[in-house]
């Protein structure tokens, strides 16, 4: 018993953080779904969910409840145990991956020396949930979806991993905390390695199976891909895993390329007024909520709106705490979490923007993009960043070194596009030779 108490005492904060992650991540995922529906509605000139709660604010909770009490159907010839187990693998991988991420200098479950490759390794296991689920369903659509998903993830994981190697090369460490600290005072790595960031953005969209790379669940061809036979709560668990994975890749990109919990322009003293942004942002939202409260059609909606405004006010007060004399120490923790989550949500917003802008790829196009463009370019990108690092050590200025390496990588990218277009025989393209020959 004393041993247990000692254990709890040593690891208390980590256990609390773990509970917070497990509790908050599903809620966050639910609200990312709501955000996606709202963004989609906005881009398509609609209103989106408006019924449950004011402006549909309670929609995720209603959806979760609906899925919980829905009938759970298992196909007759399914492999029952694997069918039951597959969604759990997916969601576990996504949640365990979060344990090494640092949301602010203090909020981290495990400070690992191998932080980044730990996250990559654990989240690469989420794919087993998809393959086994597709196989266990004993359905053609599911199996085809699972096969597509496997091929896609294998192809794009290489590109994503090599894009991360570029960032790690600049940071000189694998620990998530130290990667962010390496960007402190200097520039964020997105400005040093823009091509690496672009590669990771594309590869992470492909890895999370989102449009325009959502072939594993292409509804016009495969019903719903690997989740065709799933219903009710098991389906919800897959859905949760997908959105949790999105949050994980967004967090990796934020840590490695977007400066993690650091404030934008943290090293410029003239822009210190940006410190007022977090509390001000919540104050404005709270004020808007209170302004809209009397205008809601139902009293219950007014109440929920007021509650939401109160929550925002509470957060605003929490964010304003660092300005109280004597509490300035809480600034990195509170504001760090704010900036980190803001960047994560901006990254996810770009995912949504891309989803509603581009049509879906064909499978051979997807493979060609992965193998002929992404992987060669990511290798060249690593080489270029290595050269950049050597040039910086040789006392070169930042701009010549940056222009030389990034320009070189860009030239390779253009050359790759030219070759790919020539191979695909796209008429009228830069690489089209048919006209010249004929």
């Amino acid at each position: 018993m004393t041993a247990l108490l000692e254990f709890l005492n040593t690891y208390m904060w980590r256990l609390i953080f773990a509970l917070v992650i497990v509790g908050v991540l599903p809620l966050l995922a639910g609200y990312v779904v709501l955000m996606e529906r709202k963004v989609m509605a906005d881009m398509q000139a609609r209103l989106g969910p408006m019924r449950v709660g004011p402006h549909g604010l309670l929609q995720p909770i209603a959806d979760a409840l609906k899925l919980l009490i829905k009938e759970d159907i298992i196909p007759e010839n399914a492999d029952k145990l694997v069918f039951w187990f597959a969604p759990v693998i997916s969601v576990t991988a996504a949640m365990v991956a979060y344990s090494a991420l640092a949301i602010g200098p203090f909020f981290q479950i495990a400070e690992l020396n191998i932080g980044l490759i730990f996250i990559v390794a654990i989240s690469s296991m989420g794919i087993f949930g998809i393959i086994l689920g597709g196989w266990a369903s004993n359905s053609h659509y599911s199996l085809l979806g699972a096969l597509r998903s496997t091929a896609q993830m294998i192809s794009y994981e290489t590109a994503a991993g090599l894009a991360l190697v570029g960032g790690v090369l600049l940071a000189g460490t694998l620990s998530t905390k130290q990667i962010v600290q390496a960007q402190q005072g200097g520039t964020w790595f997105v400005f040093v390695a823009p091509i690496g960031f672009f590669l990771y953005l594309v590869a992470s969209i492909a890895e999370t199976n989102r449009a325009p790379f959502d072939l594993p669940e292409a509804e016009s061809e495969l019903v719903a891909g690997y989740m065709t036979e799933y219903s009710g709560f098991r389906w919800a668990v897959y859905f949760l895993a997908e959105y949790a994975n999105m949050i994980v890749v967004a967090s990796i990109a934020t840590t490695l390329f977007l400066g993690g919990w650091l404030r934008p322009f943290g090293s410029i003293a003239a822009l210190d007024f940006l410190d007022f942004f977090p509390p001000l942002c919540f104050f404005v939202v709270a004020a808007y909520c209170f302004y809209r409260t009397p205008k809601q059609p139902e009293p219950i909606q007014s109440a929920v709106m007021a509650l939401f405004g109160g929550l925002c006010l509470l957060l605003a007060v929490a964010m304003a705490l660092p300005f109280v004399p004597g509490l300035a120490d809480s600034k990195p923790g509170l504001h760090g979490a704010f900036w980190f989550l803001l960047k994560v949500f901006l990254y996810i917003y770009s995912f949504m923007w891309i989803r509603f802008t581009f049509p879906r790829f064909r499978f051979d196009q997807l493979m060609r993009l992965g193998w002929y463009f992404m992987i060669p370019l990511s290798i060249v990108n690593v080489l270029g960043l290595g050269v950049y690092k050597v040039l910086r050590q040789l006392q070169w200025n930042r701009w010549p070194a940056f222009l030389l390496t990034t320009g070189g990588t860009l030239l390779v990218a253009i050359w790759l596009v030219w070759i790919a277009q020539k191979k695909a025989g796209i008429p009228g393209s830069v690489g089209d030779m048919t006209e010249a020959e004929g």
């Binding site: 041993a3 000692e6 254990f7 492999d79 694997v82 690992l112 020396n113 191998i114 490759i117 730990f118 990559v120 390794a121 654990i122 690469s124 296991m125 794919i127 087993f128 393959i131 086994l132 196989w135 199996l143 699972a146 096969l147 496997t150 091929a151 993830m153 294998i154 994981e157 991993g161 694998l174």
Partner: protein, 174 residues
Amino acid sequence: MTPTQISQIAFYFFAGLAVLGAILTVTVRNVVHSAIFLITSLLATAGIFLTLGAQFLFAVQIILYVGGIMVLFIFVIMLVNLDVALHQLQFNRQKWVAGLLALVLGSQLGVAIWFARAKGSLDIPSGRTGTLSPQNVEQFGLALFEKYALPFEIASVLLLVALIGAVVMTKKRI
């Protein structure tokens, strides 16, 4: 509980899981279930690496074996006809020879461990159990690129040759 005790419990847990997974891999009839148990076994091996403080090997084991090779295994398994495997004979009739060989190997290992114990060379130096060396990846990288640079380069050239060979063999026209 001291870190050493936790590390010992973790070791026996992972070791048991690895052996159990390996046994089930060969005894289970369904090929996909075999693959799942092989994954379990490989993951448990990764866990043993972690208890030994080899963090980098832990990550590489998961990324390469579990995330790469096993995914390809299952991919291939799904493409072939599973029903054929279910009706075939799972084990051939040479179990006595196999049992004898297993006995010889087991006794060999047992004797080796027994002698090593008597000499005391199996004792892990104190201070190395349970503590994860914080600079593992750095040390690994330095060893690979400074002390063992030549073997490392030769191995990578070998892998490159294998890679190109595979492409050449599968492509009809280059």
